[in-house]
């Protein structure tokens, strides 16, 4: 029993990180139909910016995260302006190639700037708490709670504000949105801003339980793609549910089946779900 609750909690933690990363990815895909391979690099930069502001200016953790959100968000906007916007009339393959190019560029850039070695981010929330035999650390609680808050905020923003509705409108029909007077350029930039911010939040929350290094984006990006395919490309509830499905299947699969096969379990699950729902769990109706 104890191990089940412990593993459920572990799955929840890892699922929260996956969901946050997948959300950013699915937003961009839903609106611009770009598979943003560089999203993992944004995640990595988010961790580095937080770490740097903590070390360099002795900022506290929360302030450092805010700076990271702004910097990485703006970097996302810059990516849209400099790379994806000029390519909007090009064949779709060009977007994909450009995204991979950005990924390689940003990784090499991080290595040049911060060096190749592993760094660790210290957290003010390191203490261990025991709840009914389940071991949690404050940082992990923070990841879970933080993820839920971010998801709710995002939901309210999209559903309850005019600006948010423009994003949904554009996801539903780009031309239609343009016709009713929505500035599609602005919406595209806004989407990249949110996407970068989500990556920065996910990275800053999860970095203290792992390490910060130039290749850290690979840890999550492949799984994030699995999640958005699983949940339906462009679907927001799909990204959230998909993230938790993957997190739980990893932790429970490792426990009750085999640790060595836990990645296989996740991918088998993907195949099964896609055979029954080829479009993904929440395919495209209303973001």
């Amino acid at each position: 029993m104890e191990i089940l609750t412990q593993q459920l909690f572990n799955g929840l933690t890892i699922g929260s990180v996956y969901s946050l990363v997948a959300l950013g990815l699915t937003l961009v895909y839903g609106i611009l139909h770009i598979p943003n391979f560089a999203h993992g690099a944004l995640y990595m930069l988010g961790a580095y910016v937080t770490l740097t502001s903590m070390l360099l200016w002795d900022f506290n953790y929360w302030l450092a995260i805010s700076i990271s959100i702004i910097v990485v968000g703006l970097l996302g906007v810059l990516m849209e302006r400099l790379v994806f916007n000029p390519l909007k009339n090009a064949p779709p393959i060009h977007d994909k190639i450009a995204a991979i190019g950005i990924l390689l560029f940003l990784e090499a850039f991080a290595q040049l700037m911060w060096g190749a070695d592993y760094r660790s981010m210290s957290t003010p929330y390191g203490e261990v708490v025991n709840i009914f035999g389940t071991t949690v650390t404050m940082q992990r609680v923070l990841i879970n709670v933080g993820a839920v808050i971010v998801m709710i905020t995002l939901y309210l923003f999209l559903k309850k504000t005019i600006v948010g509705s423009t994003i949904i409108a554009m996801a539903q029909n780009r031309k239609g949105a343009h016709l009713v007077g929505i500035n599609t350029n602005k919406v595209a930039m806004l989407t990249f801003l949110i996407s970068g911010a989500l990556a920065a939040i996910a990275a800053s929350l999860s970095a203290p339980i792992n390490l910060v290094f130039p290749g850290m984006g690979h840890l999550v990006i492949l799984k994030a793609f699995v999640i958005i395919i699983l949940g339906g490309m462009g679907s927001i509830p799909g990204a959230i549910v998909g993230g938790y499905i993957l997190g739980f299947s990893e932790s429970l699969g490792a426990t009750y089946i085999s640790n060595d096969y836990k990645d296989i379990i996740a991918f088998v699950l993907l195949i099964i779900i896609l055979s029954f729902k080829p479009q993904g769990l929440f395919s495209k109706e209303g973001v």
Partner: protein, 410 residues
């Protein structure tokens, strides 16, 4: 619009520059070295009239994910070269100086092989170093034919088991650690072990050696898996499962930093037993990651003695000098590369030649005996028939929050 774009780009660039500006000026211990990127340039030695130059080759990872490892290795060699070149050395009445030629192989064996060819053609190097077993094996394909010595920094026994006459294995073989590590951990903590090393080939080799030996000694393997440090975001899941089997000892290893994270997460989950730490991870580097002053968190770990805690005749001087130059503690890779270059130089003197590798190899034992005591960062009494340095096992354990060297009976 163009101007706006350019402006936005410049502002972002400036912001990033500011952010990265002086991350290393802070007191973060774990940030390690970064000045190294400029360090791979090596100056040619100044030669006076009548002096000649011997080129020494090096092919290791100087970029990519293992760059810090290659750079530390190279730093050790550079220190030795600088010291030797102050006076030069005399072989058969002729004064020589050393010239180090480092090339980057990005940790890829095929690159090592082509680097070696290039070093031979352009620099005519009698000795080529490589700090990874893949690269060493790639060079072994042609080193006897093309006549050069491989200075191999790898504890993989395989590199000296093939009967290659011109390979020198610098560190001790890792299989020597099995017995003392097992004995210590079993006695102090108990008979149940859970294995969670890195999932690299090297981690698997270690598991395959350690676990059967552990069982032979009457122990029990309760959990046997591995962790891919390049794929796992969180180690809690795996560690929870391993601890569910109630082990007395955890076998962990891989690069120092993730290994340290793994150990501290095991402690968070309530593990109170000991750790057997693979030789790839170094206890002193692990401590820096968890930002603790003492080794308390790693109580009961057995591993390779960190160089800074070793007590060979030349260690203190080397450590001091290295700290002054690089502002960090040297690891064993720097120490072994340093001492081995001195041994090669002494062997050249004894052999009376700088360009006949077979002769140099034949006089390695004399070279080891001639090595002055103050250069013995590690004491290496002999070189085996197979070309491996028999420096003996140097192990340490954490007891009461401190590193304690453990005597190993040979």
């Amino acid at each position: 619009m163009k101007i706006v774009r350019l402006l936005a780009f410049l502002i972002m660039l400036a912001l990033v520059m500011i952010l990265t500006g002086c991350i290393d000026d802070t007191s973060n211990d774990a940030s390690g070295e970064d000045e190294a990127e400029a360090d791979t340039d090596v100056e040619e030695p100044e030669t006076e009239e009548g002096e000649e130059v011997v080129n020494i080759g090096f092919s290791g990872p100087l970029s990519g994910s293992a760059a810090f490892y290659g750079e530390r290795s190279l730093n050790g060699m550079k220190m030795a070269v600088d010291e030797i070149n102050e006076e030069g050395f005399e072989v058969d009445g002729q004064t020589y100086k050393l010239n180090l030629v480092p090339l980057d192989d990005k940790y890829l064996p095929n690159e090592t092989a082509s680097n070696a060819k290039r070093l031979l053609q352009e620099n005519d190097t009698p000795i080529i170093y490589s700090p990874h077993s893949g690269g060493i094996k790639a060079m072994q394909v042609f080193n006897e034919e093309e006549d050069f010595i491989i200075g191999g920094y790898s504890s993989e026994p395989g590199i000296t088991e093939e009967g290659n006459d011109l390979t020198v294995r610098i560190p001790p073989r890792y299989d020597g650690y099995m017995e003392p590590f097992t004995e210590y951990s079993m006695e102090r903590y108990g008979e149940k072990i859970a294995a969670l090393p890195t999932s690299s080939q090297y981690g698997k080799d270690w598991s395959e050696n350690l676990l059967p030996y552990w069982e032979e000694q009457g122990g029990e393997v309760v959990y046997d898996s591995s962790i891919d440090f390049s794929k796992e975001t969180d180690f809690f899941t795996t560690v929870t499962n391993a601890l569910e089997e109630d082990p007395d000892v955890l076998f962990i290893g891989g690069p120092s930093e993730p290994t340290a994270k793994l150990a501290s997460q095991a402690r968070e989950l309530g593990f109170e037993g000991g750790f057997i730490v693979m030789d790839q991870a170094k206890l002193d580097e692990m401590r820096k990651v968890v930002e603790e002053e003492t080794y308390e968190l790693f109580e009961g770990s057995v591993g390779v003695t960190p160089l800074v805690d070793s007590e060979y005749p030349g260690t203190d001087e080397f450590v001091e000098k290295y700290r002054a130059e690089h502002e960090e503690d040297p690891g064993s890779e720097a120490g072994f590369h340093y001492v081995s270059l001195y041994v090669f130089m002494e062997a050249m003197k004894e052999a009376g030649t700088v360009d006949e590798p077979a002769e140099i190899r034949a006089h390695m034992q004399d070279g080891l005996e001639q090595l002055p005591e103050d250069k013995q960062v590690y004491t290496i009494p002999e070189i085996g028939e197979d070309g491996g340095f028999n420096s003996g096992i140097s192990m340490a354990a954490v007891e009461d929050g401190e590193i304690v060297p453990i005597e190993v009976e040979e």
